[in-house]
Symmetry: C2
Amino acid sequence: MKFKNHLEKFIDVNDEQLAFILPYFKRLEVPKKQNLMEAGQRCHSHYFVLEGCLRKFFIDDKGVEQTTEFAIENWWMTDHRAFENEESTDFYIQAVENSVVLTISYSSQEQLMVEMPIMERYFRKVYQRAFAALQMKIKYNFTYSKEEYFHHFNAHYPAFVQRVPQYLLASFLGLTPEYLSEIRNKKRS
Amino acid sequence: MKFKNHLEKFIDVNDEQLAFILPYFKRLEVPKKQNLMEAGQRCHSHYFVLEGCLRKFFIDDKGVEQTTEFAIENWWMTDHRAFENEESTDFYIQAVENSVVLTISYSSQEQLMVEMPIMERYFRKVYQRAFAALQMKIKYNFTYSKEEYFHHFNAHYPAFVQRVPQYLLASFLGLTPEYLSEIRNKKRS
DNA sequence: CGCGACGTTGATTTGCCTCAACGATTGTGG
DNA sequence: CCACAATCGTTGAGGCAAATCAACGTCGCG
């Protein structure tokens, strides 16, 4: 089972423990373009992607969707600020492809960690890794121009670049679709 | 004791537990301008600021110092990518003021979490909070122009803006000292 | 087949950087 | 306690990366 394989990358877990853990989660199938979370609502859930791809975006004051994050298989996603404070969010989470996710509520996640120390350990490692990844991303903002950032990203995650539409990728990289197009076609020179 | 007060914001800890925890850490006094970590070295330590202020920076390909992060009282700091993989870092960590810090090595931190589940919980919460904060920061990058970002930051952390020299603040905010100066003096119009 | 979503191209504009020069302030040695 | 240098902040001229705006081509889908 996929989720067990994922957990085992971080902790040792036997079938008995797994049977205890699973009921805390709910499995959800989300068709492409459907929203899992919407701005203005309470942020109830933390989502884990089993299959497919999600994106998180907000709508800026000019009415443009700004995609700040993608999640593919084996990644967690939510608006963490809102999730942890159980407040309302400014983000949308939307399926980029037909997807299958696990969801867990804040209180369930907290309770699970209390009852199962290995899950406390699991989430500690997940957050630690995610934090380190975000720090890297912030460093890239200082290091690269937008053009360089695209080339870097394209070199590291070529499969992902193929996988999502270009205008979403552009938004995620913090540039306009027009400029991304220009960059890509510049290569020929 | 300061560190105990800090821990108690996240977990319940009695004196006996504290006595067990403390030996894992080393106390260090760092005079202003001194480096705790240097690019090219192995990243051995995670630093917790008891007093004073640290900054983390790297040197870009033009030779300019880019400050990516500050840490004041009750914040942790290290190059997490390098720390977790016990690799060499590209960052410097330098005292902005005369400072007092606690340090812990990667292996000690891991061992502490194994031996004391409450510390696993503590670090889980710390990473979780830090991760949420970084996600906010990334959202700001999409939301604000550099000028707006400065005003936002200045409105939220006026004391901190006073506390550090302007050219470090400029670097941290991702703009040049010249442009920050221009922004600040524009207000009069 | 026609419409809407997506990608491209080019002209123009702008936010912010670069470079250079100049005050102000600080600290340091004589 | 004063000169002198170094560090830091300011100002302005000029330039560039990337955005904006508008128009058009293309493809997939109902």
